[in-house]
Structure formats: C-alpha cells, structure tokens
C-alpha cells in the first residue's frame, strides 16, 4: 500500500520536471525549434498557453508539486493527504483531457512535452483509482 505512494511521488516528480521545463521555455520565450514531427512551438505560443497571465505550464508544475507533497505525507501516515490526492488527480486528468482536445482539434498541433504530462497524469489517475479499489481488501 505504502509503496504505491512512492510510485505516485516519483511520477509527480517526473511531471514536475516536465512542467518546469515548459514553464522555463515559456518565461524565457525560448520556444523550441519547429520540426516536422513536433508542434511544441505552436502550442506554447498559442493563446491557451496562458491563464490569467500565468503560464499554464507553471500551474501544472504547482499541481505536480502538490501531488508530490501529498504522496510524501500519505507515505508517512498522514491519512488526510491521501484523501485530498484523489480529487486533485481527477482534476488534473480532466484538465489534461481538455488540453489534449485543444491540441487535437483547435491548435491542430501536438507538443510532445504536453503529451508526456498527459500520460503521467493518466498513470496517476489509474494509480489513485487502484488505491481506492484495493483499500477494502487491504483492511
């Protein structure tokens, strides 16, 4: 049971690194080079990359850091942290679905770093759901 919080913490650290990289790219204006396969420069320079003046990637970094903190606290026995984790990961997953929709149908370009983040969030959701399912059996 506790090991799964270690997995959540590691995944959220990966997400934090990815989101921090995108935030730095955004803040410095050092958008990544255009290539045949990547649409990162288009996604990062779109109007959807900023919410109320804050880079969306920075919001993502804050969310991943919160998930990391909650996972560490849950690992050390703070039960309330485990309870907050579930709705937070759900919210992150729905935001990721919305951003995937924007990339696929509005911007019509995919950024690999955003896709990595979406994949990490999906993994987190699966883990959090499995935590809920396995809890009665463990007790």
């Amino acid at each position: 049971m506790k090991k799964i919080y270690v997995v959540v913490a590691v995944l959220s650290l990966l997400g934090l690194t990815d989101a921090l990289y995108l935030t730095i790219e955004h803040v410095t204006g050092q958008t990544v080079r255009c290539t045949i396969l990547s649409g990162c420069s288009e996604v990062l320079s779109s109007q959807y990359a900023v919410v109320a003046g804050i880079p969306l990637a920075a919001v993502g970094a804050a969310a991943y850091f919160t998930v990391f903190s909650l996972a560490i606290l849950a690992l050390f026995g703070y039960r309330i942290a485990g309870k907050i984790l579930t709705p937070l990961v759900f919210a992150m997953f729905f935001v990721s679905v919305w951003l995937f929709y924007l990339q696929a149908f509005v911007i019509r370009q995919f950024c690999q770093y955003c896709l990595i983040s979406a994949a990490i969030t999906t993994c987190l959701l699966v883990i959090v759901l499995s935590l809920r399912w396995f809890r009665p059996a463990a007790q």
Binding site: R33, T35, I36
Partner: protein
C-alpha cells in the same frame, strides 16, 4: 524525527525546483526581447566578448548546392557568411527574423546573409504557400520585400483558412506585377527552387527551423537570441582576421 522528515523532503524538492527554475531563467536569455531591449554592452567586433559556447567545435558542413541564385544580403566577400533555413509559418523563425535584421544593421558589410526555404509541410499547413509566395516575388526581384512582409505579418495570416488572397495583397503592396505573380506561384521555377533549398537543407542535416549556419558551422539553437548570436559573429570576425 519521523514526523518532520516528510516536510524536510518536500522543502528540499521545492528548494531544488525553485533554484533550478531561477538559475535557468537567468542563464537563458529571452528570445522575444525586441531589438531595442538588447544589452548595449557589446558592439560589433568588440574585443573581450564572451566565447560562444561550442561554436568552433561544430563541424564545417558543405552540403549539395541550393537554389541558384540564392537570396542573399550583404557583400559576397564578407568575412562572416550566415545561412538560414527557415519556414515562414514557424513561430521561432518569426522571432528570429527581427534578430537577424538587427545583426545585419549592426555588422553591415561584414555579414553576408543567405535565406533558404525549408517549409515544414506536414506540420505547417501554409508554409509551402508562404515559401512559394516569397519565391514568386523573388522572380520579380522582390524576394526580400515579400520575405519581410510575410514574417512581419506572420500572426495575421497563419490562422487563416485561405492565405493566397492575403499574399496577393502583400504582392500588390510591394509593387510587383500581380498577374505574373499569380502565374509564377504555381510554376515549375518556384517549385524547383524550394525543392533545391530543401535538398541542400537535408544534405546539411537540417531537421527543423530556424537552423542557422555561420561559415558552414551550425549555430546551436540556444545561441540564436540576439546577445548570443552577436558573440558568435564577433568570434567569427576575430577568427577571420
């Protein structure tokens, strides 16, 4: 101790994340700074400039010839020859455009600039149309006028469904024969030029845009902001003496 340990771990991660972000945002200069905001400390050819990171370690690449005559600016015997592979729809290329103009103003006849077409067709739906428009204008000796027009208005046309009327409007504004331009834009000469530039790009290992070579050596992407590119050019000038 066990009760404090999780908070220590969280604070350490927060510290590492914030320090890394702070360090990287300080060391990576902003590419979007308008030319007027660049630090005035280094003038062209000024001694004592910082060494450009790893530029001299890049191999010299020759590649197959591109379209001839190439679209160039500056004297052919200039000590620094800069060749850009660009895509008119690519946002970083749009950001690099004023930087390159600034370098041309600063270095004058010491800098020879060549522009090569490298439209990223599957990624950018209007890139080929934009390259064709510039090349068609080039057949009437107005390549650079159209080139500037397309880059300067990149955000106005790239979201449009049909860009042809917009580019025809630019053709009128720069004063070329629009009827001839309309014929040329779908012609073989324009297609061949784009194809030849593309072949040159592929032979030189170009994978994305903007890709810039200075005296045959590729300039790292992170060295394209004005203050770093200036140092690369200054070093090349120093080496040429």
């Amino acid at each position: 101790m066990k009760r404090i340990l999780p908070f220590i771990i969280i604070l350490v991660v927060l510290g590492v994340a914030l320090t890394s972000a702070w360090y990287l945002t300080r060391t990576i200069p902003a590419a979007q700074n308008p030319p007027g905001n660049q630090p005035p400390s280094s003038s062209p050819g000024a001694p004592g400039s910082q060494a450009s990171p790893a530029q001299s370690e890049q191999p010299v690449v020759t590649g197959v010839p591109g379209a001839e005559p190439a679209h160039t600016h500056g004297p052919a015997n200039a000590p620094v020859k800069l060749e850009e592979f660009g895509d008119f729809e690519c946002p970083p290329c749009g950001l690099f455009h004023p930087i390159l103009k600034q370098m041309e103003e600063e270095f004058g006849d010491k800098l020879h600039v060549t522009f090569r077409e490298f439209p990223l067709v599957p990624t950018h739906q209007h890139a080929l149309a934009a390259a064709s428009a510039a090349e068609a204008a080039g057949l009437q000796n107005k390549f650079w006028e159209m080139h500037h027009m397309i880059y300067d208005h990149q955000n106005d046309w790239k979201k449009e469904f049909d860009v042809r009327p917009i580019f025809e409007g630019y053709a009128k504004q720069i004063g070329i024969d629009v009827e001839r331009y309309k014929r040329d834009i779908d012609g073989e000469a324009v297609a061949n030029r784009i194809m030849q530039d593309g072949k040159r790009g592929h032979s030189m290992g170009v994978k994305g845009t903007p890709t810039v070579f200075i005296n045959g050596r590729e300039v790292n992407f992170e060295n394209l902001p004005a203050d770093k590119l200036r140092v690369v050019i200054q070093n090349e000038l120093r080496n040429a003496r």
